[in-house]
Amino acid sequence: MPTSFWGWIVFLIQQYHSSYLQGLVTTLAASLSGTVLGCCLGFVVGVIQTIDFQKSRSPLQNVLLAIPWTICKIYVTVFRGTPMIVQAMVIYYGIAQMFGVNIPAFRAAILIITLNSGAYMAETVRGGIRSIDPGQVEGAQALGMRYVPMMAHIILPQTLRIIAPQIGNTFVANIKDTSVLNVISVTELFYITNVVAGTYFRMFEAYTITAMIYLTLTLVFNFLLRLLESHLAGSSSYEIIPSEQLAPAQEPAR
C-alpha cells in the first residue's frame, strides 16, 4: 500500500484508470448531447419568446400565439429558478412514480441537461435576437419577405454568431454541472470517483484526480472554443473580381 499522497494518486490511477476513463466519456457524452439538444430547444423557445403581439393580427391569432408563449415563459421560469440537482430528482423519480417507467439513468441525464440548458439558452437566444439592429428586420420586410425565411436566413444566423461564445460557455458549464447527476446514479466522472474513493477510503487523492480531469477538460474546451470563435469571426479581407471576368451586362452608371 502506498504511504504518501502522490503514491496514492499514482496507485489509484494505475488501478482505476479505465473507470475514470469511463466516467469521463459518460460526462462528455451527456454534457455534449445535452448542450446540443439544449441549444436546439433554446432556439425554439427563444424565438417563441420574441413574438410580439401586434394589433395588426387578429385576436384569434394573438390567442393562438399566446399559448406557446405562456408555456415557454413558465418553462424558462421554472428551470432557471430551481437547481439542476433538484430537477434531476423530480424528473427521474417523478417519471418513475407517475408513469411507472424507469428510463435508463444516462437518458435521464441527457433529458435533464437538455431541459436545464434549454431554459438558459432560450434567454440567451431571446437577448441575441433583441440585440440585432431592427434595420435588419425592416430591410427584409421592405422586400416583402415572410417571417420564416427572414428568421432562417437573416436573423438567426446573426443571432448564432452573437451567442456562439455563450453556447461554448454553456457546454463548459455543463461538463462540470453533470456531476450533480450522480444523485440519479448516472455513472459519470463524479459517481465513478465516489466508488473509487470508497474502496480504499482515499477521498482526498481520488477527488484530486477528478478535479484535475475536470480542469483539463474545461481548459481544453475553452481553448478550442476560442479557436472556433475567431474562425467564426471570418476573414476581414475579400476578393475583388477583376472587370474582365465580369459579364458585360450593361454600361455601368458611373
Binding site: 394589433k55 421592405a142 415572410r146
Partner: protein, 259 residues
C-alpha cells in the same frame, strides 16, 4: 437616355396613379406626425419630398409601405387600398422597393447574397436566374467587382449602391428612398446620387425623401414641401425652388437659393 427600360418598369395595364395617398394621418402617442396627407404618384414620376427634419417626411415613406401603420387614411396601390393581411402586404411590398438611410443590408450575407435575397427568397426564382438579374443591377450601380464582400467591409456609398441594387433586383414598380445620402460623406453622396440620377432618366418611378436640394431640383418631376406633418406646397421643381408661393417654403429654401 429617356427611353423607358422594360426591365425596370413593369408593364401595368393601369392609367391611374401607381401610388395614391389619401388623407393619411399618423400619430405616435400624443405626437401628431402626419396630418391629412394626400397626393398621387404616376408611373414614371420622380417625386422628391423636402422639408426640415421632423416634418414627417420619413414617416410618410414608412407609412406608404406599411413599415408604420397609418393612424387613419389610406394608401392606394393601383387604386386599391393596401391590404393588411400578411401575404397580400408582402406581395405589395415586393412591388414597392425601399432604400434606407442606414442601408439595412443583411450583415451576414455577401453583396451578391444581399441582392439575391429578394429574387431568391421572396420571388422564389431559381438561384442561377436570380444571380443573373442581380449581376445586371450590381453592374449598373458599379458594385459588381465587390460581390464577395460583406457589408461591414464596404464604405457607406458602396453599401448604399448595393442597397439600391437589392431594391432594383426585385424589379419593383416604385422605389422609395428614405434620405439615402444623409449618412454619407460628400464624396459618397455624389456616387449614390449619380446612380439615382441614371435611374430617373430610365423612367423608374421614385419617391425620394432628401436634403439634397440641387439633386431634387434637377431630377424630380414634382417636388413636395412638407412642414409639421402637412404638405405646404407641391409642384414642378422649377416653381417650388424658384417661385415658391408660401412663406414657409421661401424661408426653408432661403439658404439654398442664396447659394
Amino acid at each position: 437616355m429617356m427611353a423607358k427600360e422594360k426591365s425596370i418598369v413593369a408593364d401595368v395595364p393601369f392609367d391611374g396613379p401607381v401610388i395614391g395617398v389619401r388623407n393619411l394621418k399618423k400619430r405616435f402617442g400624443d405626437h401628431l406626425v402626419l396630418e391629412d396627407i394626400s397626393f398621387d404618384v404616376h408611373q414614371g414620376d420622380v417625386v422628391t419630398v423636402i422639408g426640415s427634419s421632423g416634418s414627417g417626411k420619413s414617416t410618410l415613406l414608412r407609412c406608404i409601405n406599411q413599415l408604420e401603420t397609418p393612424t387613419s387614411g389610406q394608401v392606394l396601390y393601383h387604386g386599391q387600398a393596401v391590404p393588411s393581411g400578411t401575404a397580400a402586404l408582402n406581395a405589395f411590398r415586393s412591388k414597392v422597393g425601399m432604400v434606407f438611410q442606414s442601408f439595412n443590408l443583411f450583415n451576414n450575407m455577401t453583396v451578391l447574397e444581399n441582392c439575391m435575397a429578394g429574387a431568391h427568397l421572396v420571388k422564389h426564382m431559381p438561384k442561377e436566374e436570380a444571380k443573373e438579374i442581380c449581376m445586371k443591377y450590381l453592374t449598373k450601380v458599379g458594385m459588381a467587382p465587390y460581390v464577395k464582400a460583406k457589408p461591414h467591409q464596404l464604405s457607406g456609398g458602396m453599401k448604399q449602391r448595393v442597397a439600391i441594387a437589392r431594391a432594383l433586383a426585385m424589379e419593383p414598380e416604385v422605389i422609395l428612398f428614405d434620405e439615402p445620402t444623409s449618412a454619407l460623406d460628400p464624396e459618397m453622396v455624389g456616387e449614390v446620387l449619380q446612380v439615382m440620377r441614371s435611374l430617373a432618366q430610365e423612367g423608374l418611378t421614385m419617391i425620394i425623401v432628401t436634403h439634397e436640394m440641387a439633386f431634387a431640383r434637377d431630377v424630380s418631376t414634382r417636388t413636395i414641401f412638407m412642414d409639421k406633418g402637412y404638405i405646404v406646397e407641391e409642384g414642378p421643381p422649377a416653381r417650388i425652388f424658384y417661385h415658391p408661393t408660401e412663406e414657409r417654403t421661401k424661408l426653408f429654401l432661403t439658404r439654398f437659393i442664396a447659394s
